[in-house]
């Protein structure tokens, strides 16, 4: 197996851009990623595109904008984890020696309102069971029941996310909010209020990967980030969990795989991106990743433990809640943020102390992807 590095990343700001086409969104993101990597487009040998709500084959249009070089272009649809899957496929292709330079693109344009997660004529949809925040909300109710956590603790995560987003010029929401505003916003699915939901968004993200042996042709190693490990999966059948059941069994299982492959332990991780489509998710996932003890996560985050200058900085770019969540673009955007952090290029939101190890967790209807990175 060969060592694979991330050479560069780029973003189109996340937000609402109804007037822009997919190519309008991806062009600046891909251009920034290529320039950041020092890689000319002619050197890209394969491209993987993560997207959800786009016409068939849209990946060809966004990549071919840079030139008709005839490379394979793969369209990946895996709901909210589409572009982390695209990234994993690119990583595997290089690791296995099939290619040396790959481009990963994530892009999305979304309508306002709750997303549709299943066929609209299905029984579950008609009977009000297909509610994106309700899965998180039901786990939050279990968590509060078991551990005595409060709605205020979950609301404080939104305050932290918006504070980080205010430091990110690419974030959809760049305005801090107070806990009073979060709690007073409209209830969506108890205990989750509107300001604890990730928005629907338009946006794009891009990454350039290369084999370490070829990366020297394009930039110096101080700009690289090594892909140290990966883990991917979907939910397995769970026995009746009873009173003590794991709220995130898939993340628990995959974290063990990730840490073993990367040769790291939770204490080694300096900066984290987790999939916080709704605020309670940040808590469950930090606990499942072993970054905080079970039952302590809500209090830990509420008391500043996951702040940029806290012991476990989480979602430093504002996360899905504040940076925004254009579904197909989110996974690669998380990786762009880790690249900025490990290079020390994150500006006002830079994690202090020269972080060396970063981890991403991206999940959704399509499954869970986790990646570990080393400077």
């Amino acid at each position: 197996m060969r060592e694979v590095v991330v050479l560069g990343g780029g973003l189109h700001p996340f937000g609402r851009f109804p007037e822009k086409s997919f190519v309008d969104l991806t062009r600046p993101a891909i251009r920034e990623a290529l320039d950041d990597a020092g890689v000319p487009f002619q050197a890209v040998q394969i491209a993987y595109c993560g997207r959800v709500n786009a016409p068939m084959g849209t990946g060809l249009a966004v990549v071919n904008e840079f030139g008709l070089t005839g490379i394979p272009i793969v369209n990946v649809e895996q709901a909210c984890s589409s572009s982390s899957t695209a990234f994993r496929q690119a990583f595997w292709a290089i690791e296995q020696g099939l290619y040396d330079v790959a481009l990963v693109v994530g892009f999305e344009k979304m309508e306002r309102g709750m997303i549709k997660m299943a066929a609209q004529d299905s029984y579950g949809v008609q009977m009000g069971q297909s509610v994106a925040p309700a899965g998180y909300a039901r786990k939050a109710q279990t968590y509060m029941h078991r551990h005595g956590a409060t709605p205020e603790m979950f609301a404080q995560i939104s305050v932290k996310s918006h504070k980080n987003g205010s430091l990110n010029p690419n974030a959809q929401y760049q305005k801090p909010v107070t806990i009073e505003e979060v709690l007073a916003s409209r209830m969506i699915a108890s205990p989750i209020t509107l300001l604890q939901c990730s928005p629907t968004s338009d946006g794009a993200s891009a990454l350039v990967l290369a084999s370490a042996e070829q990366a020297h042709r394009y930039s110096s190693p101080d700009r690289w980030m090594t892909i140290a490990g990966w883990a991917s999966g979907t939910e397995a059948y769970e026995e009746d969990p009873g009173e003590e059941g794991d709220l995130e069994p898939t993340v628990t299982r995959l974290s063990a795989d990730l840490y073993e492959r990367a040769g790291i332990a939770p204490a080694d991780i300096d900066v984290v991106q987790v999939h916080d489509a709704f605020t309670p998710g940040e808590v469950f996932r930090l606990e499942a990743m072993g970054l905080v003890s079970e039952g302590e996560g809500a209090r830990f985050v509420a008391e500043g433990g996951a702040d940029i200058d806290g012991p476990v900085p989480v979602n430093t770019d504002g996360g899905l809640i504040s940076r925004g969540h254009p579904m197909g673009a989110t996974g690669a955007a998380q990786i762009v943020e880790i690249l900025r952090q490990l290079r020390g290029e994150a500006g006002a939101r830079q994690v202090p102390g020269e972080p060396q190890v970063g981890v991403c967790h991206n999940s959704g209807v399509g499954g869970v992807n986790m990646h570990a990175f080393k400077k």
Binding site: M114, I115, Q120, Q126, M127, I188, E239
Partner: protein, 136 residues
């Protein structure tokens, strides 16, 4: 008594006017599912037996939904719960009530009618069973 045709007759039917909640039991490992599955999610066996689920159970966890999701016939606010029936099936179900919901509370399933473009159709909902009335 049936009030309307089921939204999905694979979920429940009426047999001699009695509610029949459809379930499946794995012949290999005994796992039970509602709605019924063709193959076992637990052990991947293809040998499944049709069963009728017990309409009594308990709330594993719940949320009160305040915004109508796309395609839903249920008027918010309503309760969306993970329910476990006494016969072992675990699944999502709504209640048209929102007051008094607690983890572990006893529930009883019934059908309710919902207006659709093609007339009234029936779906499964649950009601809380008042404390002291739950059968052991």
């Amino acid at each position: 008594m049936p009030t309307a045709e089921p939204i999905d007759a694979n979920v429940f039917t009426f047999e001699a006017d009695e509610l029949c909640i459809k379930a499946a039991e794995c012949a290999a490992c005994g796992a039970r599912f509602h709605p019924p599955r063709q193959y076992c999610a637990r052990c991947a066996s293809r040998e499944m037996r049709a069963r009728v689920a017990d309409p009594a159970g308990k709330i594993e966890t719940f949320t009160i939904v305040h915004q109508r999701p796309p395609g839903s016939l249920v008027e918010p606010p309503y309760t969306l719960a993970d329910v476990q029936l006494r016969s072992g099936e675990r699944f999502s179900c709504v209640s048209l009530d929102t007051a008094g919901m607690t983890i572990g509370a006893s529930v009883q399933l019934r059908v309710a009618a919902f207006d659709t473009d093609s007339g009234p159709r029936a779906g499964l909902v649950f009601d809380l069973v008042p404390e002291g009335e739950a059968n052991a």
